[in-house]
């Protein structure tokens, strides 16, 4: 049984004086225990919305799904109180911009300690009055178990001098440190799944690499699954065991990372892989997918990628089929339905992705073993 | 503190005095649908009309004393709002008082606006030490409670309308300066300003013709709101006897005069008091409607 099993998720945002926005339209997502699963897509693909729907943080939206199970239990059947138990305790979340996601008037240590306290692993009161007293009157005692645990977590996520950092405020830390703090606070409740929404997008490359390493290490050590949301295929190649590719509210393809990179089946995936700088042929030009993603309201019927796809044909206006490329690897594209259209996709001017890759696919293989560990200095 | 009213002068919407025409439509919509705004507008209009046409509309001469009917209660046939202890008709006095209150409010806020906006524009536009110096000056201004200034002026020059105007204007300069300055800062680097500079328009022209029109909306809202506050301030001063001269019938003064008679002739104090509250409330409501229509985000509800 998958840790997280979502089937036919649809999220719609009602809009004043206007048509509702169907941000997510029929998404399937499965995350296995202990794996790192990448959720990839451009801006506007609906990946962040999907992530937030897992935590039931979307108050204004209408969410529907055939199945939305965590550990076999329907998340959307739970009461808000039960959901609060799950948040932080079973499922942790790491947000993109750590500076705005961390509370500016609380020390970093306190922000982690409160998660620890709240999830009852330590023998300290987490009631409203005690929390308020801690915040406004006395501060958290440095010897309290929740504080000690916070310091330990800071050390675990690779922050040097954790004692000092714990008493700092978010604005006093660097971007990389803040992101590690976010990760530490997500770990505070000892969750089984961490949803990381573009955790490295706002960081520069060296820092990004070290954070990603950190995530991999934590996944191994703590056996926590990570749903890693990103727009960067390079990140996926480096870090993820399996991948779901989203476009404009729907899933285009999903499977294990090595499978996807070696045998991409969907034209969109191929186009994405083609546009990674490392993928381009040595003497060719950098390529992009022409056009831009449609607004949710302007999505064409059937496959949302129709208008930009070089292989689009009549059947593409029909609802998306599922095509099993190989075991565990599915593409949703009409090209593969028997007796229809071309069975090969060629992007103009550049030979198919197969066989011309460098770097990325090797990384994908490495991810499968996860034995390579490049040491990168901390950011 | 930045305001957002749907784009600055670089878009093609038609504008009247710098405010996009569709904002007026929104205002119209708000006023016709929201009863609070409608009430506000009605009050404002009634007040302004009473003030302007007081000499024609008032049934009696506000100064005419009729000893025969001193302190007649309100709702008597001849004097709907009663008379004061000198036999002067309260309704007429109140209508004339409206005039003066309105004039004082407008004058004080207008002066504050001109000076304040001038300072703010200059500070924001030129930046550097001018900005620092001007802002320091403005800071000192707001360390000064207006009451203080009023007191000094009265102590030296005696009572009178101009003292009140000066004191109140003094207190509001900093409000306008701040708004103008922050508007300028947010527009200063926009393209159309730089374009104007390139054409060779002088600083003053740029400020007046390019920058100022975009700042009009928040300034108008602030103006309205401050007129209400000015009227409150003037009423307090007159009530205390350190505002206008004793015979001038502003509402605050009427209230002050009636205070000692509250037992026998309660209407002399209560009615002008109600009038003050209703009028100020109306102006505030209207100001709020303006703020919504013109899409101005104020500094968190300083009314």
């Amino acid at each position: 049984m998958s840790l997280l099993d979502v089937e036919e998720l649809a999220v719609t945002f009602p809009v004043e004086d206007g048509p509702d926005v169907p941000a997510v339209d029929g998404v399937d997502l499965q995350v296995e225990a202990g794996e790192i699963h990448g959720l990839v897509g451009e801006s506007g693909s609906g990946k962040s919305v999907t992530a937030r729907s897992i935590m039931r943080l979307l108050d204004d939206a209408e969410v529907s799904a055939n199945r939305f199970d965590y550990r076999g239990e329907d998340l959307y059947a739970k009461s808000e109180a039960e959901m609060r138990r799950i948040r932080g305790d079973e499922i942790g979340m790491v947000f993109q911009d750590a500076l705005s996601a961390l509370n500016p008037v609380m020390t970093v240590g306190e922000q982690i300690a409160e998660v620890v306290r709240h999830h009852g692993d330590v023998d300290e009161s987490a009631g409203l009055l005690s929390e308020l007293r801690r915040k406004y009157v006395t501060g958290t005692s440095k010897t309290a178990p929740s504080w000690r645990r916070a310091v330990d977590l800071l050390e675990t996520v690779g922050i040097p001098d954790p004692e000092a950092v714990a008493t700092s405020y978010p604005h006093q830390l660097s971007g990389g440190q803040r992101q590690r703090v976010m990760i530490a606070s997500a770990l505070g409740g000892d969750p089984s799944l961490i949803v990381a929404d573009e955790p490295t997008t706002a960081l520069d490359v060296t820092v990004e690499a070290s954070i990603l390493d950190e995530l991999q290490r934590l996944c191994d050590e703590f056996d926590v699954a990570i749903l890693l949301i990103t727009h960067d295929l390079g990140v996926v190649a480096e870090t993820c065991d399996s991948v779901t590719v989203m476009y404009s509210g729907s899933v285009m393809e999903h499977g294990r990372t090595d499978q996807l990179f070696e045998h991409p089946a969907h034209p969109y995936t191929k186009g994405l892989l083609r546009s990674i700088p490392e993928q381009a042929p040595a003497d060719g030009e950098l390529t992009t997918i022409p056009g831009s993603a449609p607004e949710p309201a302007d999505r064409p019927a059937g496959c949302p990628f129709r208008d930009r796809c070089p292989a689009a044909f009549d059947a593409c206006s029909e609802p998306l089929p599922e095509h099993a490329v190989e075991a565990g690897h599915t593409a949703r594209c009409h090209l593969y339905t028997e007796g229809e259209g071309p069975s090969e996709v060629a992007w103009d001017g550049v030979a198919g992705v197969e066989g011309e890759t460098n770097g990325a696919v090797d990384d994908a293989d490495a991810t499968a073993d996860r034995t390579t560990a490049t040491e990168v200095t901390d950011g | 503190m930045s305001t957002d009213y749907g784009g600055h002068g670089s878009d093609e919407a038609t504008r009247v005095f710098g405010i996009r025409v569709d904002r007026f439509e929104r205002l119209h919509e708000t006023v016709t649908s929201d009863y609070k705004a409608a009430f506000g507008l009605t009050v404002v209009v009634a007040f302004v009309l009473a003030a302007i046409f007081a000499p024609e509309l008032a049934p009696y001469d506000p100064m005419a004393q009729e000893y025969a009917i001193m302190q007649s209660p309100s709702l008597s046939s001849a004097h709907p709002l009663g008379t004061d202890s000198f036999g002067r008709d309260l309704l007429s006095r109140m209508m004339h008082g409206a005039r003066i209150s309105l004039a004082v409010g407008l004058a004080a806020v207008a002066i504050a606006a001109v000076v304040g906006v001038g300072l703010g524009l200059a500070a924001g536009y030129y930046g550097g030490w001018i900005d620092d110096a001007l802002m320091r000056f403005v800071d000192v201004l707001w360390a000064f409670p207006w009451l203080l200034v009023a007191i000094m002026l009265v102590a030296i020059f005696g009572q009178g309308v101009w003292n009140v105007i000066a004191a109140i204007a003094f207190a509001y300069i900093d409000d306008f300066a701040r708004i103008a300055r922050s508007e300028v800062l947010s527009i200063r680097e926009e393209e159309f300003v730089l374009a104007a500079k390139n054409i060779g328009l002088g600083d003053r022209e740029i400020m007046l013709e390019e920058v100022l029109p975009n700042a009009v909306a928040p300034l108008i809202v602030q103006f309205t709101v401050l007129v209400a506050r000015a009227m409150l301030a003037e009423s307090t001063l007159s009530f205390l006897g350190i505002g206008v001269k004793p015979t001038t019938p502003t509402w605050g003064a009427l209230l002050g005069q009636g205070r000692s008679l509250i037992g026998q002739a309660w209407w002399i104090s209560i009615i002008p008091g109600i009038a003050i509250v209703v009028t100020v409330l109306g102006i505030n409501l209207f100001g709020d409607a303006l703020r919504d229509a013109f899409d101005v985000r104020g500094e968190g509800g300083t009314p």
Binding site: A101 | I151, G300
Partner: protein
């Protein structure tokens, strides 16, 4: 810079501003057309008296000597004597200060007690009746002059709560309950308009905070809503409110003075008004300076308070 250095710097600035005010007063008095001595003594002074005052004020001496003496006197605490009682101005003012301070204090407390919970409820229940009610009350409060509220309270209180005295003041040394009973109505009259503004400010600040990312993080941690609101949101929301509260102290003053007149309280405000009526210039002048000192230092306290609760300013960026 550390908190202590900041406090020191602001204090020095404050003192400087006070001297600037004193200088402004000096200039104002000297630049009035006519004779400053007449100003001090009032219109009916006799020539000998005028001459005496002129001598005392050193008006025949060069202006910089006058100025120097003036500043020196002020620093020593010598603000002149009342024309009517001959009493030293400063001690006269000090004697009348207690009632005024009491009313001010009660007013501020009432204002905060209404505004902060009111603003929070208003923001969290935006659009619902609680919001509507709170906003309307705030609006009304802001549209009513303090003295009017005082008058209304006087009239209605005698009907509904007759045990509350409607006149005069009792010092706190006469018993806290007595003191409170005298001070509560004037305090309410002063505090309500202030509460109105603060409620709206708290509401809008809270609304902004509620939409901030870190509030979502707190929810994502599974914390109960009350914790999220009060522990994570409140302090952030209060920061701008504190700033505005300080700026608006000036509003209070006008109210307190008027309210003292309404309730017949022999406080500083009353003293001020009567001194103006009687043209007791030294007291008026002294009062102006005292008031500015109070205001400058209140702003200082608010500034320091703000700095100490805002870690971004207090600790700066050390990364």
């Amino acid at each position: 810079m550390g908190l202590q250095r900041y406090v020191l710097k602001r204090t020095l600035q404050a003192v400087l501003v006070v001297y600037v005010v004193a200088t402004a007063v000096f200039v104002a008095v000297r630049s009035v057309p006519g004779d400053p001595a007449r100003l001090v003594l009032g219109g009916n002074a006799r020539p000998e008296e005028l001459a005496a005052v002129r001598d005392e004020l050193g008006l025949d001496e060069p202006i910089y000597v006058q100025y120097f003496d003036w500043i020196a006197d002020l620093t020593r605490g010598d603000f002149g004597q009342s024309i009517f009682t001959g009493e030293a101005v400063l001690s006269r003012i000090a004697g009348a200060a207690e009632p005024t301070l009491s009313i001010g204090l009660v007013g501020i407390c009432i204002a905060f007690l209404i505004a902060i919970p009111g603003g929070i409820v208003s923001a969290t229940r935006k659009g619902k009746w609680e919001d509507y009610a709170a906003t309307s009350v705030a609006f009304l409060g802001v549209s009513m002059p303090s003295f009017w509220i005082g008058i209304v309270l006087l009239l209605t209180a005698s009907t509904f709560v007759p045990f509350l005295p409607s006149y005069g003041y009792a010092s706190i040394s006469d018993g806290v309950v007595t003191w409170l009973s005298h001070v509560i109505l004037p305090g309410l009259a002063v505090g309500l308009p202030y509460a109105g503004i603060l409620t709206r400010m708290t509401r809008s600040s809270m609304l902004e905070v509620l939409s901030e990312d870190y509030m979502q993080t707190a929810r994502a941690k599974g914390l109960p809503p009350r914790n999220v609101l009060l522990k994570h949101g409140l302090q952030n929301a209060l920061l701008p409110v504190v700033t505005v509260a300080g700026i608006l102290f000036a509003l209070l003053l006008g109210g307190i003075v008027a309210v003292e007149v309404v309730f017949g309280i022999q406080g500083f405000g009353r003293l001020l008004i009567r001194s103006i009526e009687r043209q007791d210039f030294p007291i008026v002048q002294g009062s102006v300076i005292v008031i500015s000192i109070i205001f400058v230092f209140m702003n200082l306290i608010v500034d320091v308070l703000y700095t100490s609760i805002n870690p971004k300013i207090r600790y700066g960026s050390e990364a």
